[in-house]
Amino acid sequence: MESLKPKFWKSLNQYNQKPESLEAARNEFVNGATADFDLNALPDKSRRKFLALMGASGALAATACSDYHDKGEIITYNKKPASVTYGEANYYASTLNNGTGVLIKTREGRPVKIDGNPEHPISKGKISTVEQALIMELYDPGRLRYPIKKSDSKLVLYKDEMPRSEWEKIDTQVVEKLNQAVSEGKEIAIVTHSVISPTQNKLFNDFSSKYPNTKIYSYELFSDSQRRAAWYDAYGQESLPAIKFDAADVILSFECDFLGSEGDITEQIRMFSSRRDKDNPENFNKLYQIEGNYSVTGAMSDYRIRLTPENQYDFIMSLAAEIVSKGKSALASEGLNTLLSGYNLKSFSEKNQINSKVLNELVHDIIAKGNKTLAVAGIMHPKPIHLAINLLNEVLGSIPNVYDLNTKLELQRPLSSDKEIETLISNLNSGKVGVLIHFDTNPVYHFPTDSGYKAAYTKAGTIISMVESANESCEANQYIIAVNNALESWGDFKPRTGIYSLQQPVISPIHDTRQKEAVLLNWMSSDVNAYSHDIYHKYLMSHWETDIYTQSNSATGFREYWFAALHDGIALISENSGNEALQFNINAVNFNKFSFTKQNYTLILKPSYYIGDGRYANNGWLQEVPNPVTKSVWDNYAMMSPATAKELSVTYGEDKLNRVADMVEVSVSGRTLKLPVMIQPGMADKVIVVDLGYGRTTIGEIGRNIGFNAGELMSAKGGISPWMFTGVNVSKTEGQYELVSTQEHHSLDEEFVKDFHLKRHIINEYTVPFYTEFRKKYDAAKIRLKSEFAGDEEAYKKALKSEKIHLLGHHEYKTHSITPDRVYSDVKWAMAIDLNKCTACGACVTSCNVENNIPIVGKEEVSRGRDMHWMRIDTYFSGTPDAPVTSFQPMLCQHCDNAPCENVCPVVATTHSPDGLNQMTYNRCVGTRYCANNCPYKVRRYNFFDFRNDFADGYYRQDTLELLNNPEVTVRSRGVMEKCTFCTQRIQESRTEAAKNGRKIKDGDVITACQEACPASAITFGDMNNPESPVSGLREHPLGYFVLETISVKPNVTYISRLRNIVAEENHGEH
């Protein structure tokens, strides 16, 4: 019995083996503990009830107090859509509103970057600086968020909160007004920009048949209207053929900025640069720039002739006369001799003091190259000059060679003539216009002040502005229709013969906006309140089905065809341009001898490089890309030559503390404007050049009152051309103004600092003849050395290098290090930049800005030297103030092997990666700025403020802009150093991709943002450890050099020396 007693016991009952105690021991929990939990069954004051109620009410309170409100449009990925993978970007082909084919990168449904569409025959995967930056327009906080009926004239658009209107109300009211106008016989005027969309054009036609009194006016602040008119006069063709800049061996460009601000620069840069292949110097084209301005094209030219625009007509005619007199004319026409009588090149050049050497060279070249010569005049030039150009091209016989006669630059409807615009204004004044619709246009700002449009448009019965953000034409009491951005829209564009480019939305409208075409379409429908977002989409598809698909001769059904076109973003259809048989009408040129009398000053108004006609003025990225020539940002000014400035006794930037400019008053037949002065060496004397597009007053906060509205100098009557005026008065006036630039320029006659870029071997340049000669010797040396060092690759390379240095006439710098060089056994990233191809367009800069979330800092901070661009384009001038020679150099982190920034960082925030990158660890950086001080290239950028808070009162903190950031790149905070990373996020992405495929990352896997954007393909990136890679070839190239080679930091960016296609006694690169 004793043994049954438990050894360990909890109670006497258990010890004594009482049955109830045995029963209790069998149950693990005490009675009741496992019963179901019932809140109501619990006593009032139980602990469990208290906790349960606390928890429940806490959760309720937290939900109720949170700011989340269901906006309806936002759908979280409860079930992941098939097309979306977290962390992986989707790309959609689309088209921007100017007809450029693009590829839009979206992350989780959010567009983050715009790049070129490689399938697109014009842009070929590249887009311009401006187009890169347009992603910001989508998220611009200044965009209208809903439609407005503005009826209180006291409300200021950009200041006051505008009362929100309902679409239904506006639609009903507008349709009423439209019907009223029709019944009263009043005009319905639609003012639009140039129409390149076939479907939009059809919509206008349909709208006109629904409302018969409709008239469509289309205008552009800048257009090739003068060139078109001249073409029409000479050949009887309405539209121009595309120019093949790559087909010409010699280009004579008269004031034509085809590499900077006019035409489709992406294509033009590609074509121009394709003839600048360092390995084929014989095939180099030769650019002669004849200009009064100093454009980026002039900076890229081989020879530049300073000539005021008025004298260029005589010059062109004299050149034609010279060719004819030498019996080399390709045009045999009786009228030719009469026409050219009185023009003599010799007397012309003497009169205008043209450098005879350059002129002889020019004449020699155009006669030698004959029909491979392209003469082209800038769009600002008047019609007679374009006619003379046509004549010169005929005399040279180059029209069939240098023009792509199979391809027209298409417009769906011709731009309105000056007369038509005049009629519109007089109709407005006389109250004949019932409804005026601004179809995404800003005529109040764009039309010349003296056209009287600003006063006239308020007299229209009803004014409707369809705009993305409010502009100057929205000031009157009117309906302001908030419209979709290009990235939220459907559409099609036909920029050229046979090229149909499709636009598709990549995000649903962020705000309560509608597509402008859909709005018009809705007003045509019988029930305006039955609006649906896809009406224009359906309209577009049905137009394609009936019109475009039928032309395509496609074997597939329409739906397949449509989705294929949508996928590619482009549909190509063979069409006839009607240009093949051109008949030159020499009599067109034969009007009374055209001659401008040079009076006083000449004014040229030109489009700004980056903000165009002012519509991009609110895009901070574009305001902050430096002008490629003057390097100034956030402003426009009166550019003039040093001699002109002296004559006017005005100065710019004399004071070191502030880059202040004197003010001048420019007046053209009574229209005056005060402007700051920018002195630009190389301009023709007595020529003033001003950029248009600045001085916007009604726009988002970034672009408001930036610069000066030079449009006020324009006239409805025009000058020599709408953009060129002679007999202009310029005088110094009171006051000074601070102009800000990202680069300090020194006067070219300042001996103290002259030609440093050459003396320090920052820029190496040679001439084509020198290089051709060098290449012969070098190739011979290669063969000789190869046999000499047969088998010993290292010794061969070394000998070849010293041979190269010897042949180029350089010194060899030997440096010794006490530490062994680091070995990079796997891939090692390197870049090469071909200075022959780079035209300083800035696409790389903007692409880098967008890719790497680089903040805008504003004018004031740039003036203090705090611009944040990781990639910049340095501009250097050499030569004389009259004939400066410009050199451009894209500059970015050189990722030096012996990076001087790395050893001085006390906290190891900047280090070297095993694949050769100089990398920044933002988290670790405390901001001593020692690395930036010790960087010889000064490419490191410091966050002096939190620019996201500090710029324009927290501009970046506004809700929509947060969507803009690239999620792959850290947003840097204040006090942190940053710089180019060689797009390390792209390298990582490719590495992950390669690892998924079970291989190692290799050359060609990574394309950096700058490389991707460069229209000239001047940038090569890749693995220098792979001997087959293009970049390692370029590192070994005889023209390759490193900037500041002597300090032995061992950069990984190779520059390819620029070859100038000039005949020079001395080699430019030698000093």
Partner: protein, 467 residues
């Protein structure tokens, strides 16, 4: 009148009784401050307030408030750092190196100069911490075990600074404190114990004097310790500014990357340090009636050191130019030509006239012994030495390798505010020092008074000859 040329004149004028010495040195600590003191204190506190405000704003908004830009990443903060570290050189030089060389004239000025060293280094030490972009992470500059398992970069001169300055501060502080112990004991002993204030003071001085009893054993240990510390501090005087100069010399910037920097910086530091000691002492000796201890003769000797170091600095300026030309390196030669004739020529010529030309007046004995005149020269030397650091820091950065990245540096009111604040901080500490501790070493002065040391000729010999 016959002068015995083999005999050094006494460093203490007259032959004050030991009691008098005690009384006159201790007087400021026993009396309540007068109006002049409060006026001075008010001024320095105002300056300190301006600095605090400017610094507070900089912390709140960011370093963008300063004038620093791209390419000039270092501005006033680093200039001030180097300047104040330089000021901190005189004290330890006077108390350690001159002690080892048995320069008795140092006795009157050593304590004060040491104190100045401490405060100057305290001022200087602020700048490396506030000049960083994220001062709240300045702790990253110190090698301490942390969860990030990150360590500092021992190749960076900025890190060497951290060690150089902190070592220098520690050793100087210990040296200063050891010297103060006998004086604290004297003060303790001279205080009555009647009032509450006296009780508190007595307690404080008792604690600080570490039980000093003036015993022979104490003196013997003290002398040995002092000698050892002097020997220990001597190389530090040379090393700290050498290492500060490495901030520049180790970089690859033209105008910074030169081997002359270490000796040149040390000479410059001693130069400016002496000038600052000179300035402060001229006022102190007058206000606190210590003219018989800090004699004109002492001031003259300091002036001689100012000429010497001024010449060394001038030599360095010339040598820099010579080497820049001799190197044949275009960028390097331009850096120096640009200093003298570029946009910052004004700063360069202020520097040259204050540092090289101004001290030359001291060759003339009349000027060297003229107190107002030497005061002005010393002020000029300080201005010049501040500008020397400005010239070195700013001109090289503003125009370095790529002309595309050149820019002009302009300080803002925040920079100037912080500079003013640093003077406010330094002088506030100095003023508190003069009212709480003996500015002249009581014990050491007693030891150099005529007749306090045994001679071969008996106790009374000097007084008969000299007086």
């Amino acid at each position: 009148m016959s002068i015995e040329l083999t005999h050094e004149p006494s460093v203490i004028e007259g032959r004050p009784a030991l009691k008098t010495i005690d009384a006159s040195i201790i007087k400021p600590m026993n009396n309540l401050p007068d109006k002049r003191f409060w006026a001075a204190m008010g001024l320095t506190l105002t300056m300190l307030g301006i600095g605090a405000l400017a610094l507070g704003m900089s912390f709140y908004r960011g370093l963008g408030l300063w004038g620093v830009n791209n390419p000039v990443g270092w501005g006033f903060a680093i200039i001030n750092f180097v300047f104040w570290v330089g000021i901190g050189h005189a004290g330890t030089l006077i108390s350690a190196i001159l002690f080892l060389f048995r320069q008795k004239w140092r006795t009157g000025i050593a304590r004060f100069a040491e104190g100045m060293t401490i405060f100057a280094v305290m001022t200087a030490g602020i700048f490396p911490l506030i000049h960083v972009g994220r001062p709240w992470l300045a702790g990253y500059l110190f090698p301490y075990p942390n969860q990030h398992s990150l360590w500092v970069n021992f190749t960076s001169p900025l890190l060497w600074d951290v060690f150089a300055v902190s070592t220098y501060f520690t050793v100087s502080f210990v040296f200063w404190y050891i010297g103060l112990i006998p004086d604290f004991a004297t003060m303790r002993d001279r205080l009555a114990n009647s009032t509450m204030v006296e009780k508190v003071k007595k307690t404080v001085y008792s604690v600080l004097s570490l039980g000093w009893r003036f015993s022979n054993r104490h003196w013997s240990h003290y002398e040995m310790m002092y000698l050892v510390l002097a020997g220990f501090a001597t190389p530090l005087v040379l090393s700290v500014h050498t290492i500060v100069s490495f901030d520049f010399a180790v970089s690859i910037m033209p105008g910074w990357h030169t081997t002359i920097f270490p000796p040149y910086f040390v000479a410059g530091a001693v130069f400016s340090g002496f000038a600052m000691v000179q300035n402060a002492l001229i006022i102190i000796r007058k206000v606190y009636d210590l003219e018989y201890i800090i004699t004109l003769d002492t001031l003259e000797k300091m002036n001689k050191i100012i000429i010497l170091t001024g010449l060394m600095v001038g030599y360095a300026y010339g040598m820099e130019f010579f080497i820049a030309w001799y190197s044949g390196h275009e960028v390097e030669s331009f850096a120096f030509v640009n200093r003298a004739f570029g946009p910052y020529a004004w700063a360069y010529w202020i520097m040259v006239s204050c540092n090289v030309i101004a001290p030359q007046f001291f060759w003339i004995k009349k000027l060297r012994t003229n107190i107002p005149f030497m005061f002005i020269i010393a002020v000029l030397v300080n201005v010049g030495m501040w500008f020397e650091r400005f010239v070195i820091t700013v001109t090289s950065l503003s125009r370095d390798y790529l002309p595309s990245s050149w820019a002009y540096y302009v300080p803002t009111i925040y920079d100037i505010g912080i500079l003013i604040g640093s003077f406010g901080w330094f002088f506030t500490l100095l003023l508190i020092f003069t009212r709480t501790m003996p500015v002249v070493s009581i014990a050491e002065v007693k030891a150099v008074v005529d007749g306090s040391q045994p001679t071969h000729h008996g106790l009374e010999h000097h007084s008969e000859e000299g007086h």
